[in-house]
């Protein structure tokens, strides 16, 4: 052990000042000597010779291997050329094969490292990104709520009702709280479900109802990456509260059903889920995420219905007070 580790270091020091092929004398004869020893080994009393052969053979590869990535490969190469006249065509071929094998090995190791890095990125780094963005969104939303609301514009010609300014894509819409996921669970729901929007937080599908409105408030969120906001959606039970906090009130929805569907079931986000074209009469919520975890083969859908609306001046809704 100590031999193997100290030998290359000593070799490095030697090689530094000279920089020339002088240290070549150490490893190069190893190759032919090696082969010679191997040929000589089965001679007369092999049993007695065996330890010596081992002693001869082992140090040479040990030197080569430990000196590998540090850089003395060039010396080995140069040494190889110098040793060529002795080694002949077979030695050259062996050298080439060794280089190819090393190159292939390095490629495979690189591929493995890339895959491991990508996993680390998916499982942890995206969480860091999302945590930063969510922090920022949270501040932004609360700040916006503390300012007086923008006055609704007067109804435009041809429209009966005053238009509420739409939320820009990627901006916060509401804060979702789910007591079953713990008191710290409070992701900001953003507007939009593009790849970029969903990296910021669970996304409200544009065109579906806003919180508390008649119709279906639909939110999609990541299950395993970017803060994993909907990671535990499968733990929700019928009757569990889902509290949606907006500027001036809390909407408490209660889970009515959970379902796993194929990804093409767009009818689950209808104003009345699975009844396309039917006018809504109730205020509903629908949460969607991928299922099973780390897969896109299905979607997990959680349905809920509005059970309670409480203005903020009346304090926290019962669901958030732990009742």
């Amino acid at each position: 052990m100590t031999d193997a580790s100290s030998a290359p270091a000593a070799k490095d020091e030697q090689e530094d000042p000279t920089g020339g092929p002088s240290p070549v004398g150490i490893p190069v004869p190893g190759v032919p000597a090696d082969a010679a020893a191997a040929r000589a080994a089965p001679a007369p009393d092999a049993d007695a010779d065996a330890p010596t052969v081992l002693a001869l053979v082992v140090p040479a590869p040990a030197l080569g291997a430990s000196g590998g990535p540090g850089g003395p490969e060039g010396d080995a190469g140069a040494g190889g050329k110098e040793g060529m006249p002795g080694a002949g065509l077979g030695g050259r071929r062996r050298l080439l094969a060794g280089r190819l094998a090393r190159g292939l090995g390095e490629l495979l190791i690189t591929a493995g490292i890339l895959v491991a890095l990508f996993l680390a990125y998916q499982l942890w780094v995206t969480d860091l990104f999302a945590a930063r963005t969510q922090d920022h969104l949270h501040h932004q939303l609360v700040e916006q709520w503390n300012r007086p609301p923008p006055a609704p514009r007067p109804p435009a010609a041809g429209h009966a009702r005053p238009a509420v300014p739409p939320v820009p894509l990627g901006d916060g819409v509401a804060i979702l709280r789910v007591p079953r996921f713990g008191p710290d669970y409070a992701p900001v729901v953003v507007q939009g479900v593009s790849v970029a929007d969903l990296r910021r937080g669970p996304g409200h599908i544009p065109g579906t109802a806003m919180p508390g409105q008649l119709g279906n408030f639909v939110v999609s969120g990541h299950r395993t990456t970017y803060g994993k906001p909907f990671n535990r959606l499968d733990e929700l039970k019928v009757g569990d509260p889902l509290v949606v906090e907006v500027r001036d009130r809390y909407y408490t929805y209660r889970v009515t059903a959970t379902e796993v569907v194929l990804p093409n079931r767009v009818d689950v986000i209808d104003p009345v889920p699975k009844h396309p074209g039917v006018a809504p009469t109730r205020q509903l919520i629908t949460l969607t995420t991928c299922h099973p975890k780390f897969s896109a083969s299905h979607r997990l859908i959680v349905y809920g219905e509005l059970a309670d609306t409480r203005p903020k001046f009346a304090g926290l809704p019962p669901a958030l007070r732990g009742e």
């Binding site: 990535p69 890095l117 990508f118 790849v195 969903l198 909907f230 767009v266 986000i269 969607t288 896109a296």
Partner: protein, 52 residues
């Protein structure tokens, strides 16, 4: 490959490990900030909404 790269790093011998470390960090940053987000967008784990 890596040995070849290391031998072709410029600078005095003592600075090369630091230079190599900086290069490795730069490659990791490029992967994390540019390449992986682009790759991930076409992978199935980012599909959470319904629709084709």
């Amino acid at each position: 490959m890596y040995a070849w790269l290391y031998r072709h790093l410029p600078g005095p011998r003592r600075l090369r490990p630091a230079l190599a470390a900086v290069l490795v960090l730069a490659v990791v940053a490029l992967l994390m900030l540019v390449i992986f987000p682009a790759v991930e967008a076409v992978l199935p784990t980012s599909k959470v909404a319904v629709g084709s």
